[in-house]
């Protein structure tokens, strides 16, 4: 069942939008593309101050006991303003893994820091194209991790990582303090995502859950993150649609505003459609946490949001013509972000497969 936002939720959306629009500036984000290992500190400070880091975590550990719906609303606004760091999603994913599968000791150790935002979490399941490998490439033996995980978002700045590793009796969802891992920053087209390779060498770690359930647990965490990322993508797509609309009603060519040309006008109307479908799927997915169809709903949100953001990035630039490809105007910030979000939490191919396995009644 889709939901209507209640007053509290609407206030979260309004307030976070106001705060982000006041703080986030294109001119602060552009330089971050040209350095590695940096993120927008102002964004993260705001996330902590506003309590966004605590939003969806349990009250017992410093959280606010709200859920996907509320965090999704923040992520949507963060997507509109290009956020400035990936931790809203990555720390949330790490924290949920600990909350859902960890021991009381593990929760006590990590959750308060994650809720406060001073601890940054990363989630590292993927191996290249495979968002959730059946046979993870790193090993977990004797409470030690060994091996390399490439291209982990947030890993350049994270304190703790949740990983899927191969244990003696099958996959293990494990948690490791990253002070004991080597990380190598990956120069990327979207450097504020703090992407890094993680090299584990006898790195101490603890199991959260193991055996057959570990992979299901990892998929659940991935789906939770995917719903948040889908909100962020939808926000980005919405912003681009509005930017395109605003440009089309002011920029003139051949004696009229370009929005009067159907090639421009219909393209923006199609973007509206993609954004609204993505938004509807996001709202629905956020309301299905804990239900049987949650994974399918998350996949739908993820697929439609990725399509919306990719298409909006292509079309908004195209509608702008020459000015659209300049560094200064910064549309490429969205273009880059659309691609980094498209590969974080598993690409569209992965989510298509997850969805169809379920629709067809087969195992994932």
């Amino acid at each position: 069942m889709s939901i209507l936002y209640d007053e509290g939720q609407q206030a979260i959306a309004t307030e976070s939008r106001r705060a982000l629009e006041a703080r986030m500036r294109k001119d602060d984000l552009l330089p971050l593309l040209e350095v590695t290992g940096r993120f927008h500190e102002g964004f993260w400070t705001m996330a902590k101050e506003q309590g966004w880091t605590a939003l969806a975590l349990p009250e017992a550990y410093g959280g606010l006991d709200l859920g996907l719906i509320e965090l999704g609303l923040i992520a949507h606004q963060a997507g509109r303003t290009l956020s400035g760091a990936p931790f809203l999603t990555s720390s949330f994913g790490a924290a949920k893994a600990i909350e859902l599968y960890g021991s009381d000791a593990q929760k006590a150790r990590w959750l308060p820091g994650l809720a406060g935002g001073d601890t940054i979490g990363a989630v590292a399941f993927a191996s290249g194209a495979d968002a959730l490998p059946v046979k993870p490439g790193i090993t977990f033996v004797g409470d030690r991790l060994d091996g390399t995980l490439t291209g982990v978002s947030a890993a350049g700045a994270a304190n703790v990582a949740v990983v899927l590793a191969m244990g003696a009796d099958g996959p293990v969802l494990a948690i490791a303090d990253l002070t004991n891992a080597e990380r190598r920053i990956v120069p990327s087209f979207d450097n504020s995502r703090c992407v890094a390779d993680l090299h584990f060498k006898e790195t101490p770690a603890e199991a959260l859950t193991a055996g057959g359930s570990a992979r299901d647990a990892a998929l659940h965490i991935l789906a939770l993150q995917a719903v948040i990322t889908a909100h962020e993508q939808t926000g980005g797509a919405e912003a681009l649609m509005e930017i395109a609309r605003d440009y089309a009603i002011t920029r003139r060519a051949f004696g009229q505003v370009i929005g009067a040309f159907q090639s421009v006008k219909h393209r923006i109307a199609e973007l509206y459609g993609l954004v609204e479908l993505a938004r509807a799927n996001c709202i629905h997915a956020a309301s299905r946490e804990g239900q049987d169809d949650f994974i399918t709903a998350a996949a739908a949100a993820r697929l439609s949001a990725t399509e919306a953001y990719d298409t909006a990035a292509r079309d908004c630039v195209q509608i702008h013509g020459g000015i659209g490809v300049t560094w200064e105007i910064g549309l490429h910030l969205h273009m880059r972000r659309s691609r980094s979000l498209a590969i974080e939490q598993g690409n569209s191919l992965f989510w298509e497969d997850v969805m169809v396995d379920r629709l067809a009644g087969e195992a994932a």
Partner: protein, 401 residues
Amino acid sequence: MSDLETYRAKAAAWLETMVPDFGRDARQGLSEADDLALGRRYQKAKFDAGYAGINWPVEYGGQGLGHLEKISFDAEEMKHGFPNFYFGISLGMPVPILMQFGGDKAFVKERVLKALKGEEIWCQLFSEPAAGSDLAGLRTKAEADGNGWKINGQKVWTSWAHYSDYGVIVVRTDPNVPKHKGLTYFWVDMKAPGVTVRQIKLAGGDSHVNEVFFDDVKIGDDHRMSPVGGGFAVAIATLMIERYVATDSAGFGPHLDLFVELAKEIEINGKPAIEDGRIRQQIARNHAMRAGLDSINVRARLMMEAGMIPGAEGSLNKLVAVRSRQKLSELAIDLRGSDGFAFDEHASQREDWTSSWINAPTGRIAGGSDETLLNTIAEKVLGLPQDHRPDKGVPFNEIPV
């Protein structure tokens, strides 16, 4: 259980009892005439049971309930394939408009009651050969004739005109003013002298739409439902009802489950098609699209329940769903390969992919073409400018043809 859930459960139970007499199986093999007769009996049964005019005023024979009861009933009714489509247009647009804009209240009441009982059918005479998307460009004219009017011209795409007793019509009463300003709205007796109905056969083989010719058809001024020259506004009110009636994330084609079943049955390269990435991609993309529309529709209903006005995103339904259905239906034919040639022109477009494919183009045009819908979204929702329209403000009889 909420009141609404109780209502729905009761309706569902009643509908079940109708299945033996009126359901899909009961209609199998009937001629159209017999099916229409069955339909009239079904409509009468609905009326008697209090399921006709659910959200219409009690004074007109309705039940005085809300829109939510109406759509709950419709959703349940849809499952059984009852012969109700003959009355869809009639009770959907012209009769509600008659209630709102009709003059002589006693006459209106009688008509509404007979329409609700399935005894009379109304049609809607809008489109013309030279005025499809451009409704205001219509040419059928009514000239003053004594105390009344005389209509001459031709309408087209009129659903069920060949079974209709009455119709609502927009005509040009003044060609000397810009095109939107010279129109007037009337009702007409479809059995009156000078009215000729000719069925149009469609691409898929069926013929429920018509051309209607008016040859010196005389009507009184009491047939007038708008101010003289004020017909365009009433026409738009009629169309607005139409836009909000139709939501179906399957685009009025088959449910996606039927595609999944097909993909499980059929093999590509020795493996079930459901394992082929290309097929999986289409299933996943279509599911995501439909789930989005469903979520939009559910939210709209929740908003109405809460007394709010749903957002403009409801207007996406037909555009997105029918277009996608067309391509998915083509893929289903491809998938069947050499078994894909087979065609039963009586198959339902909601259950058969070939029927869905051959009827999809009608769905992309009727009730607002894709292009019209995109323009509406662009202009009404996003504030983009109207297209260039050289005929704007030009007296109708000075527009070049």
